[in-house]
């Protein structure tokens, strides 16, 4: 009761505050944050595991093509698989050792994927081969992009879209602002938070290179207000010669979605069916920016990343630098193992992450966190009928009608769903989160999108 009253009061206060501040978007939800588990913990490095497994598909786009051979010895940072075309990204060895084999291995998304398994060299200093550090000053736009692709940099916010592709906006778009996503609106996760608080210079250096590559004059870093130390750190280290603004945002999910962030930061509404470039902006995740800076500082490709290991189901939550390809089970073991009431282990945050059916699935470039939920937190499967309360309409950041879409999805009327703007749904799960009838709306929409894709593919094949 006291909790309900407090929630009520904070809702009223927040309502008044959000009207006063322009830096937010409409609708969305407020799941419990649970960031206190790891928000104060400094980033530490996890020791190298006995073996790492690097899937050839770690990014959106075409999987990489294998160039390494089994039995070969590789140093940290050596190329294992090369990018297959423009919308693709290479994969590098994240530890030195011997390639044991290349075989099917469980992927965090639930499928199996070809992966390079490296038996990590014990007693190795894990020092990468000396390499040339590219000097970004002298590089042209194309050369920067090539360097970014060669380093295998992808979006570290979860979707893992190749960064160099996002730095190449359509030729007819006029980009005036680079927007950096430091919202980190997913509950539990603190990787971006710790990155901004501990490595603010690196973030600003990455911003500088991206602004150079894009030729834009202005950058805005949007950070949710629940990370005051990150905002302070970024403000303190803000370079005097660049037009970079650090903008505190309201705390709300999904603030970090590209379209929501652009609405919050620039008050620009990306037209339905187009990319952010159509409103003159490019959005990059803050962890990707920091990684880009590392590439141009050390010459090393993307072979390790910061991961939040957290949740009530993990014995010792932590923010860790983890070599890409480390098995989830090894990470959890290093953090003291699962507790007795752990029930669900997620790759990514609890709103959009995927549940792991096999803890041998490795940490990928796009793994923002490993979250172990307890039995109490796991969704109940029991559903009741839709009572048309309209909460999903109030939650949907895209102003769709999930209630209607849910009815259509369950009736299999996918064409009508397409007319009702299913394509604008980004599967953020806000509707499922608020639904008092516990209808798995986001899941239905994901399945419907897949059905429509299959339909379109079949039609294309027949034609």
């Amino acid at each position: 009761m006291a909790e309900a009253r407090a929630a009520l009061l904070s809702r009223l206060v927040r309502g008044a505050a959000s009207r006063a501040s322009a830096f937010g978007f409409s609708h969305g939800v407020h799941p419990p944050e649970h960031k206190e588990l790891t928000a104060h913990l400094p980033i530490r490095r996890m020791p190298y595991p006995d073996e790492v497994v690097l899937p050839l598909r770690q990014h959106a786009g075409k999987p990489a093509t294998l160039v390494a051979t089994p039995g070969q010895h590789v140093e940290r940072g050596d190329l294992l698989a090369a990018a297959d075309g423009w919308v693709s990204s290479p994969v590098h060895a994240s530890a030195s050792g011997w390639i044991a084999d290349v075989d099917w291995w469980p992927h965090p998304d639930g499928s199996m994927c070809r992966a390079v398994r490296i038996r990590v060299e014990r007693y190795s200093a894990q020092i990468a081969r000396p390499r040339l550090v590219p000097d970004w000053h002298g590089l042209t736009h194309e050369q920067v992009l090539r360097a970014v692709q060669d380093a295998g940099v992808v979006g570290l916010g979860g979707a893992a879209f190749p960064t160099h592709v996002k730095l190449q906006p359509p030729s007819d778009a006029r980009i005036d602002t680079l927007v950096i996503n430091g919202a980190e609106c997913e509950p539990y996760l603190t990787t971006d938070h710790r990155t901004m608080a501990e490595y603010p210079e690196r973030v600003h250096f990455g911003v500088r290179i991206m602004m150079h590559a894009l030729g834009v004059r202005r950058a805005v870093i949007g950070v949710e207000r629940n990370k005051p130390d990150a905002i302070d750190a970024l403000e303190r280290t803000r370079p005097a010669d660049l037009d970079v603004t650090v903008l505190p945002l309201t705390v709300k999910y999904p603030q970090g979605a590209e379209k929501m962030l652009l609405k919050a930061v620039l008050d620009r509404e990306v037209p339905s069916g187009t990319l952010p470039a159509s409103v003159g902006a490019i959005v990059q995740n803050v962890a990707s920016v920091a990684t880009l800076a590392e590439v141009f500082e050390t010459g090393l490709p993307l072979i390790e990343r910061i991961v939040t290991v957290t949740g009530g189901g993990v014995a010792r939550p932590a923010n860790l630098i983890i070599p890409v390809g480390t098995k989830t089970a090894d990470v959890i073991a290093y953090c003291g193992g699962l507790t007795d009431d752990a029930a669900e282990v997620l790759n990514g945050g609890p709103m959009m992450g995927t549940a792991l059916r096999n803890l041998d699935a490795p940490v990928l470039k796009g793994t923002t966190g490993i979250v172990a939920l307890t039995r109490d937190e796991v969704r109940d499967m029991a559903q009741s009928p839709c009572i048309h309360c309209g909460r999903c309409l109030d939650a949907c950041p895209m102003f769709l009608n999930p209630s209607l879409l849910g009815d259509l999805a369950r009736a299999g009327r996918h064409d009508e769903m397409a007319e009702a703007h299913l394509a604008d749904c980004m599967l953020c799960g806000s509707c499922s989160y608020v639904c008092p009838s516990n209808i798995p709306l986001a899941q239905l929409f994901g399945a419907s999108k897949a059905a429509l894709r299959r339909q379109a593919a079949a039609k294309a094949g027949a034609a």
Partner: protein, 356 residues
């Protein structure tokens, strides 16, 4: 390049007892049952007030209609749906629209009709078109017009004195009772042109059905639900606002002939209907704009029926009529999708998937 499969390693042991579900993996705390039982809790003060005004008869009538409703839900509907609390709400709401002196069997029959025909025939919770409690009342009104319009006067007699022939046998002629009856304020105004004072309307010291007598209490209980977001304040506001506006205009035109807006707002079932019946989520529109339209439709119809219709009261029929319009209201008030130019029902060309 090697692809030789080593099955022993290709399928590592699955970790036992891990839940694998689709995202989102978190869920808000409020369920259908949370909403419904909170509405029940908000109705309890109204029942208590009606017991204070009408004595034990009030409790008996509400109890009878709740039993009729929940028994039907339990024995006719799918099992296990009683726990969601929606049948209890229907029973209580129906009971609150009845006069205290109605025979209990009739109240129970009304509850059974409300759930059986008003809800289960449509497919149960979430699928009914009309507000079940009001449908139950409409049925009773048609079947037992005299019992439904014999209004005991509030605040007369002791707590244990029955306000009518509550224990009459089914279909027997109504027995003789000593209860003091009184016309409702709306009936008085319509047929005898007497006005009732605003303060007695506000506090409920007038003739009428159980729940329609204290506007103050209804507003308080509804306010609680609105704050917890278990009902949308837009609906009662637009119903009451529309009635006030229209009645105000009429009253300005001819104060002798048309009652004041305050009288219109506080009398009859308007308050109960606007706050507790029109806001039934299942039978109201889902869109915000739709809820404004829905409320205004009810308000207009109420004033029209009360002013020019043959009945003193029109809230029940107004809400049922508006319920019937909900699918259409929903269709024409879809929100403007983020990034779309305007809400339209035509196929969009942007997604490249639809071919129709």
């Amino acid at each position: 390049m090697t692809t030789t499969a080593s099955p022993a390693r290709g399928t590592p042991p699955r970790a036992p007892s891990l839940v694998v579900a689709a995202s989102p993996h978190l869920k808000g705390r409020e369920s259908v049952a949370t909403i419904m039982w909170n509405v029940v809790a908000a109705l309890v003060p109204l029942v208590a007030a009606s017991a204070w005004l009408f004595g034990v008869s009030a409790l008996l009538v509400v109890l009878a209609s709740v039993i009729g409703a929940t028994a039907t839900e339990h024995f006719v509907g799918r099992r296990g749906t009683l726990a969601d609390g929606s049948a209890a709400i229907t029973g209580i709401l129906l009971g609150l629209t009845l006069p205290a002196g109605i025979p209990l069997w009739a109240a129970a029959l009304g509850g059974a009709f409300a759930i059986g025909v008003g809800k289960l025939l449509f497919g149960g919770l979430g699928y009914n078109i009309f507000n079940p409690a009001l449908l139950g009342r409409a049925f009773l009104m048609a079947a037992f017009p005299v019992a439904l319009t014999t209004w005991p006067k509030a605040g007369t007699g002791g707590f244990w004195a029955l306000r009518g022939d509550n224990f009459a046998f089914p279909f027997a002629a109504a027995g003789h009772t000593d209860a003091v009856t009184a016309a409702t304020p709306l009936g008085l105004f319509k047929f005898e042109h007497q006005l009732t004072g605003a303060s007695s309307l506000f506090f409920g010291d007038v003739g009428g059905s159980l729940g329609e007598t204290s506007a103050l209490l209804i507003l308080l209980c509804g306010g609680y639900l609105a704050l917890r977001r278990f009902l949308d304040w837009r609906i009662p506001l637009s119903v009451l606002g529309t009635v006030a506006l229209l009645q105000g205009a009429l009253h300005l035109a001819d104060a002798a002939k048309y009652a004041s807006p305050a009288f219109a707002l506080l009398s009859g079932g308007l308050m109960l209907g606007a706050v507790f019946m029109a806001t039934d989520m299942v039978t109201a529109p889902v869109t915000k704009l739709g809820r404004w339209v829905f409320g205004a439709t009810i308000g207009v119809t109420v004033v029209v029926i009360r002013t020019w219709g043959g009945l003193p009261e029109g809230v029940m029929y107004s809400i049922l009529l508006a319920n019937a319009l909900v699918p259409y209201i929903n269709t024409v008030t879809q929100p403007r999708v983020f990034g779309a130019r305007r809400a339209k029902r035509a196929p969009s060309e942007t997604n490249g998937v639809v071919a129709r």
